[in-house]
Amino acid sequence: MTTIHAKGISRRGWLRWAAILAAAAGLPGRVWAAMARPEAAFGATALDEAMAALGDTPQVHEGIQFTTPDIAENGAVVPVRVEVDSEALPNVSKVSVLVEMNPNPLAASFDIPPGTEVFIETRVKVAQTCTLYAVAEADGQLYMQSRETKVTLGGCGG
């Protein structure tokens, strides 16, 4: 009798845990279901490796406007802006920002659904003076624009 009772409790407890876990997993899952993180590209430790993981070698495209400071006093906080002229380069679905000399060159990648302006502003760490790349994916093709930023103080200090 007692064993049955104990079994009932443990099963109920297990079900409750399962429900909590399912709720916790389901909440972000709903938002993130459509997107897959480009793990290989984030794990790459060299620029060409990261570019290869994103896709083909990108072509330079004037429709991408990539704004970074010429000189960054603090490499830990370098503002970058990627803007794409939708008439010059339509159907951009993804924008990535790469920093050539960082331990992992890919800093950030953004999925852009139709209807959203291709306009991304953020701040990244830049380990040392090097070239920054903005890569845009449109209709399966990769396009890029690059800018050199001089860093007078390292970005590795966080």
């Binding site: 984030f42 953004f110 990244v124």
Partner: protein, 103 residues
Amino acid sequence: MAGRIKIRAQKKGVVTEVKALMRHPMETGMRKDQAGEPIPAHFITQVSVLHGEQPVMQGHWGAAVSANPFLGVRFAGGEPGDTVRVVWTDNQGGTGEGETTIR
């Protein structure tokens, strides 16, 4: 750990401009503390901007995004009074969320 987000959404002509400032250490995992012990990596891996329930931008971040990250995006549509949310998840399972209405 749930982080708060400072967020502002403003209608500018046909587009809505969203600016968000998150509080997060964004540790790369490559730094060491004063005792020489490595500081574990702790950074936002996913960030999403939603207009109502509709995602307008979904981002994947690496540790190279600056501490206390700033994010600015623009999307077409959106009316004053609409809800805009920014949600993030980090590599240690932490989440953060901020909500505002379009001005």
